[in-house]
């Protein structure tokens, strides 16, 4: 995940910008040193660079925009208080995300979001038949909300895996769990979601059909 908030665009696997990452890492280190030397204002650079990723991460944990910002703010405050604990063994982002995940987890345990049980999560109503953008949007939102209805041990791997653009290693590092455990939990979570949304197969078929039709039309 790269620092900086982005305008809304689908997060299909992005090509990592190594130059930007390296530059960001150097800036993070410089800002941390300045904060530790007593310049509280230098923390602004860190917040500016990481506000987008942290708010988005929190959003995936609770799907409530206001709460996501509150959670992200709490994570930044904890980071500020514990900046001296970052031992430089891992990158600043790894440390920050692990800390944020801990904050989100404990805060959501203290004040849970109102979630329906997985079985009560609304099922999409055959969008393949309806063929309209709104139905598809609603169906997608139902799937995303169903993730929050998963038990916590399965929910968190799903949230972090897709937040990190399908990077198991990064998700495992944030949760401080072995990669194998994360993979097993992801697989179990997918099975639970699959059972909840059997009609998604029709949507997938419709999508494939549309892609084929567009492809044919383009070739003609």
């Amino acid at each position: 995940m790269q620092p900086g908030g982005r305008a809304s665009s689908p997060t299909a696997r992005r090509v990592p910008d190594l130059t930007a990452n390296a530059k960001g890492a150097i800036e993070d280190l410089a800002d941390v040193e300045r904060v530790l030397a007593g310049d509280a204002q230098a923390f602004e650079g860190i917040v500016r660079r990481w506000q987008g990723p942290l708010v988005n991460m929190a959003w995936r944990y609770c799907r409530d925009r206001g709460r996501a910002e509150d959670l992200a703010q709490e994570a930044f405050l904890r980071a500020w208080r514990g900046l001296a604990n970052w031992r430089r063994e891992s990158s600043f982002s790894t440390w920050l995300f692990a800390l944020a995940a801990n904050v989100f987890r404990s805060e959501l345990k203290r004040f849970p979001t109102v979630n329906l049980p997985l079985d009560a999560a609304p099922e999409p109503s055959r969008p393949a038949v309806q063929h309209n953008a709104l139905a598809e949007q609603l169906s997608h939102e139902a799937v995303r909300r169903a993730v929050l209805a998963l038990p916590l041990r399965y929910r968190e791997p799903v949230v972090l895996y897709y937040f990190y653009e399908m990077d198991v290693a990064a998700a495992a590092a944030t949760m401080r769990l072995p990669e194998g455990t994360v993979k097993a939990r992801l697989s179990r979570a997918r099975a639970l979601l699959r059972r909840r949304f059997p009609h998604l197969e029709a949507e997938y078929a419709a999508m494939e059909f549309t892609a084929l039709t567009i492809g044919k039309e383009a070739s003609n």
Binding site: T11, R13, A40, G52, W59, F76, V147, Y162, L200
Partner: protein, 136 residues
């Protein structure tokens, strides 16, 4: 064994649903933090920075008390074993009519137990107070 029609189609179906779930979860729009977010975070940070540092635990003053409590606790343990064991071993000999010596020992044991309880409570209380100051 020849696979049935269901056997052949079921993995396909499972795979398709999972691919669709994968596609949905992987294509989520990103939120842009609200315009006041940065200001709000920095305001909280400045407030925290302006707070005086937490008062350190007064070890200098607490040390004699802690030492005393430890001593009392140790003495209590010693007395408990010292007085309690003969009393317990004497019980089977006279289950109904306790001798005066045993009764005195038991009474002393009770007091030692009370003293131990009080020491434990005071230790827990001081630990709790120290915890608030951020030491634990």
């Amino acid at each position: 064994m020849k696979p049935t029609k269901t056997d052949r189609t079921e993995p396909d179906r499972t795979e398709r649903i999972e691919m669709e779930i994968e596609r949905i979860l992987a294509t989520e729009d990103e939120l842009v933090p609200s315009s006041g977010f940065l200001t709000s975070v920095m305001e909280s940070v400045r407030q925290e920075a302006a707070l005086p540092p937490p008062i350190p635990f007064p070890w200098k003053w607490a040390a004699p008390g802690i030492l005393l409590a430890t001593g009392v606790f140790g003495w209590g343990c010693f007395e408990l074993v010292h007085l309690g064991l003969p009393a317990v071993s004497a019980i089977p000999d006279a289950p109904l009519h306790l001798s005066a010596t045993v009764e005195r020992s038991l009474e002393a044991t009770e007091w030692v137990a009370v003293a131990l309880g009080a020491s434990l409570l005071s230790w827990l209380l001081s630990r709790r107070l120290a915890g608030r100051s951020g030491l634990f």
